[in-house]
Symmetry: C2
Subunit: 170 residues, 2 copies
C-alpha cells in the first residue's frame, strides 16, 4: 500500500487518483470472483444467453485482455500471450481445444495477483506516462491517454462482460 | 473544455485526471447512443435475454442512476427523481404503466447534455471533495471516495448494463 506523502501535494494528489482507479478495478475483480465462486465449473461451459458467447470464452477473453496490460503498461513479460489466438483474435467456437475452466480460473487468479504486485510497485509518476500503444506526438497532445487511463478502460471492459456473465446466476 | 494550466502542476495534474474519467464516461455514452440509434424503439420492449430485464427497463434504470449523480455530487436538482420508483427501487414488470421508449430516450439525451454542462463547469478542486453519501469522518480516512470516484463507479455501472443491452443487436 502506498503511503500518502503529505509534504508533496502533487504526489499525494496523484496517489489519490491511482487509489481511485485501482480500487474500482479491485471492486470489479471482487464481483467477478464472487460470481465464479458461486458457479460450478460446468456451468461456465454454457452460453450466457441464447446464441451468445459461452462463459468460458468470456473468462478466457478477460484473462487475455487484462494480461495484455502487462506489455501495454511496460510492466514486464505477459503471462499468457497464447490466449489471444483463442479468446481475442477469434470468436467463440472456432477451436475445439481450449483450456479447461479450472485452468482459466487458475490463470485469472494468478494474473490478478501478478497485476496487483505490479500496480503496487509502480511509481505514481509512472502511471501518468504514456503507454506503449500511443505515439510520442499523440501523447504530447493528449496527456490523458496515459497508463492509468488504460486501467480505467480495462475496468470498464471487465464490467461490460461481468454484466453478461451475471446472467448465469439463477 | 478545460485548458490545462501549465503554471500550476497540481491543478494541471487534476485536470488531466478529470479528463481521463470524463472521457471514459463519454466513451460509454457514445457506445450506448450508437446502439440505441441502431435499434427500432419496439426492439427495446423485449428482454435482453430469456428471463432477464427488458431493454426499456435497463434504459430507465441508467437514466435514474445517472440522474442521481446530480444530487450526489451537489450539482443541482435532479431532473427525474420519479424514475427511481419504477427503475431502481422495483424490479422490471412491477408496474404496468411506465414511460415510453421515446420518452426515456429523450430523457437520456437531455440528462447527458445537462451532466456534460455541469461537469464542464465544475472546478477541478471540487471534483476531489467529498460527495453527499459519505461522512466527514470516512472521507478524512478515505479521500479517494470523492466526487470523481462516483463518476468512475457510474461509468462501470453503465458499461455493465451496456454489456447486456448489446445482446439486442442482431
Amino acid at each position: 500500500m502506498i503511503t500518502p506523502d503529505k509534504a508533496n501535494p502533487l504526489r499525494e494528489s496523484r496517489e489519490v487518483f491511482i487509489k481511485m482507479v485501482v480500487s474500482n478495478w479491485e471492486l470489479q475483480n471482487q464481483r467477478l470472483n464472487g460470481l465464479l465462486a458461486k458457479l460450478p465449473d460446468e456451468r461456465l461451459l454454457v452460453s450466457v444467453a441464447e446464441g451468445k458467447n459461452r462463459a468460458i470464452y468470456l473468462l478466457g477473453h478477460l484473462v487475455a485482455i487484462n494480461d495484455g496490460m502487462i506489455s501495454l503498461l511496460g510492466l514486464g513479460e505477459r503471462l499468457y500471450p497464447e490466449l489471444d489466438e483463442l479468446f481475442v483474435k477469434n470468436p467463440d467456437g472456432k477451436f475445439d481445444q481450449i483450456p479447461s475452466v479450472a485452468e482459466l480460473k487458475a490463470k485469472w487468479t494468478n494474473l490478478n495477483q501478478v497485476l496487483t504486485g505490479y500496480f503496487a510497485e509502480l511509481d505514481a509518476e509512472e502511471w501518468f506516462r504514456k503507454h506503449n500503444a500511443i505515439s510520442d506526438e499523440d501523447f504530447a497532445r493528449e496527456p490523458h491517454r496515459n497508463k492509468l487511463n488504460i486501467l480505467i478502460n480495462r475496468t470498464n471492459h471487465q464490467a461490460y462482460h461481468l454484466g453478461q456473465l451475471i446472467f448465469l446466476k439463477a
